[in-house]
């Protein structure tokens, strides 16, 4: 059996099974095992299944076990645990409260505070969907109660939630780092400026939108004293400390990303207990929630690793590489093609699924053009971030829709999202045009 045909059939099978709602991990694992079995069975020309069992089992085991048996990847459960602990201790929501107290006097100030809160939440939890889900429960109902337009109240949080993918620590960056074998610390640093750029872009959208249509964000009439503002800023210190420990520690070369995860978790736990905001039960619950979340991410990554090994076995990446080289595609058109692929996939698939499916084919291609994989990682994550709010299946939009129930129709949320999407596209173009934005902090 021709290995290229086998790989294409396996890819097609995965896509069909995905469409049929088969969990991503099972699609990848099942297709990789059957594909590898057939590859080994037909290796000598004739069908010899008895010769295929051992290598198939060894390949499936070694790739999945090696992935989970990793010191560096312990940062994923540790960062996820940090997010849960910080949430239970109230650190993440304090950022939003501080931003609200400082910005409430401005028109649209609460929407801006929501975006800043999302940025702060992301800087601790590293998950876009968790960010949208948590902040959506707090900010959106509050804005709607204050008479904000439903499009602004929902879309600002849906868009703000995507910041979790770029601002470190980001689970997507870690997974990208695993599959491209690039430095996760450098990826984190590369995400800082593009993340902040996106955050400023979202604030600008709200400012312009509210300036042009003041009725969508009525003045609240609420004001806080200077002492209230100072107190709110002081209350946000644990979150700021954690961000400084993570980014400062990695940038200053004090910690590796894994150590930053462990130390920040230790600090969050100690501060939470010292401030009596974290109970032992909440801590245990946080660890259990962490395990469930981590296992559901890792089983996808483990099965994807088997799939990647199978794809490498067939050599289909080289075939695609030859095809593209023969087409003499310029770097510009290559990037346009890659952006289109990710944007289209982002409309239907979840970010982890897209990465594990595409990276085995994309990375050799990108490397052959001599492009920087750290910078490319930022581009990919930005594209995935855009996919989280692109219709018809913007996951973050659905998360917010679930939070608000039937109070706001889905198309109304998407109606607000387009403004944020346009800024996202501008930021994407800037990141692609000026790689320095991503690479300046990495020293690359």
């Amino acid at each position: 059996m021709d290995p290229t045909v086998l790989a294409i059939t396996a890819f097609s099978a995965v896509l069909i099974l995905l469409a049929l709602r088969v969990p991503i991990a099972f699609c990848l694992g099942g297709a990789a095992v059957i594909g590898s079995f057939l590859y080994f069975a037909f290796r000598t020309g004739s069908f010899a299944p008895e010769r295929a069992i051992n290598p198939t089992l060894s390949m499936a085991y070694s790739n999945s076990f090696d992935l989970v048996h990793s010191y560096n990847l312990s940062m994923i459960p540790l960062f996820i645990a940090l997010g849960h602990v910080a949430y239970h201790a109230g650190f993440t929501t304090n950022i939003y409260h501080a931003a609200k107290v400082w910005l409430v006097r401005m028109r649209g100030g609460v929407a801006m505070a929501s975006v800043v809160g999302c940025g702060g939440f992301s800087a601790i939890t590293g998950s876009s969907i968790a960010c949208a889900s948590t902040m959506g429960r707090i900010c959106t109902p509050e804005m709607m109660r204050m008479g904000y337009d439903e499009r602004l109240a929902t879309s600002s949080v849906a868009a703000g939630g995507t910041l979790g993918s770029l601002i470190p620590p980001s689970v997507l960056f870690i997974i990208y780092g695993i599959f491209t074998e690039t430095s996760i610390s450098k990826l984190f640093l590369a995400g800082v400026l593009p993340g902040l750029l996106s955050l400023c872009g979202f604030l600008l959208v709200i400012y312009v939108w509210v300036s042009l249509r003041p009725e969508i964000a009525p003045a609240t009439g609420t004001s806080y004293s200077a002492e209230d503002r100072r107190r709110a800023a002081r209350d946000a210190w644990p979150a700021i400390l954690l961000f400084v420990v993570i980014v400062g520690g990695i940038y200053g070369g004090v910690f590796s990303a894994t150590e930053a995860a462990a130390v920040s978790l230790a600090i969050a736990t100690a501060v939470g207990f010292a401030q009596r905001k974290l109970t032992l039960k909440q801590m245990v619950d946080s660890l259990k929630e962490t395990c469930v979340q981590t296992a559901s991410i890792f089983i996808i990554a483990a099965c994807a690793k088997i799939f990647v090994a199978f794809v490498a076995l067939t050599g289909v990446s080289n075939d695609i590489l030859t095809l593209v080289t023969e087409a003499e595609l310029s770097v510009f058109w290559l990037l346009v093609a890659i952006a289109c692929i990710y944007l289209v996939l982002g409309m239907f698939l979840d970010p982890i699924g897209i990465m594990v499916l595409t990276l085995p084919l994309m990375v050799p291609l990108v490397e052959s053009y001599g492009l920087n994989l750290i910078w490319f990682g930022v581009v990919v994550i930005k594209l995935l971030e855009i996919g989280l709010i692109t219709p018809p299946v913007g996951l973050n939009v659905f998360v917010i829709a679930n939070v608000v129930g039937d109070k706001v129709a889905l198309h109304r949320i998407f109606a607000g999202i387009f403004r944020f999407l346009s800024v996202d596209m501008i930021v994407l173009i800037l990141i692609i045009s000026f790689p320095t934005i991503s690479l300046v902090l990495t020293g690359g």
Binding site: L17, L18, A19, L20, R21, V22, P23, I24, A25, F26, C27, L28, G29, G30, V33, T56, L57, S58, A60, Y61, S64, F65, V68, H69, S70, Y71, L73, S74, P77, L78, A81, F255, E259, A261, A262, V263, L265, A266, V284, L287, K288, T290, C291, V292, T294, A295, S296, I297, F298, I299, I300, A302, C303, F348, L349, D350, I352, G353, P392, V393
Partner: protein
């Protein structure tokens, strides 16, 4: 019975996450004094297997496996229930193979008495055992979930 066992596995996984955080943090502090915990990298690697694989059965029980629902949501309810069954069957195959492969590897290292080179010469079997047990528990839970969903489909 399986439910209790899964709860135990989840508790062990939670302990493993806590232990990983503690070991790495202590190592960072000890580095200031020019020392480190012996074989801490190997210990964290072994704990990772516990933290990741042991909760898989609970993930299955909670139906937390990530899937793409955009196409299936357009289908009638009866079809969707069959698609769920299909998902569990594919899962049984994929995780079944990993259970088989994991058990084989565990028995190999157990019989050979393999260990990691290092200060403590830690044995290799605990991580392999956790992998095989976690996968087997997930397969058992998949069978139960499949049975429940199949009965639901039959009733309809």
């Amino acid at each position: 019975m399986l439910g209790r066992f899964e709860t135990l596995l989840l508790a062990l996984a939670a302990l493993a996450v806590f232990a990983m955080g503690l070991i790495i943090s202590v190592n960072v502090v000890l580095r200031l004094f020019g020392v480190s915990l012996p074989d801490s990298v190997v210990i964290v690697q072994e704990l990772m297997v516990l933290a990741i694989i042991l909760p898989l059965a609970v993930v299955t029980r909670l139906r937390e496996h990530v899937s793409v629902e955009v196409v299936s949501n357009l289908m009638p309810g009866g079809w969707q229930r069959w698609l769920r069954v299909l998902g569990w069957i594919v899962g049984l195959f994929a995780l079944g193979v990993l259970t088989w492969a994991g058990t084989r590897e565990f028995l190999k290292v157990w019989e050979s008495g393999s260990f990691y080179f290092g200060d403590l010469s830690l044995p290799k079997w605990p991580g392999r055992l956790a992998f095989a047990v976690g996968m087997a528990a997930a397969v058992l839970r998949l069978l139960l979930v499949l049975k429940d969903d199949l009965l639901g489909v039959m009733k309809d």
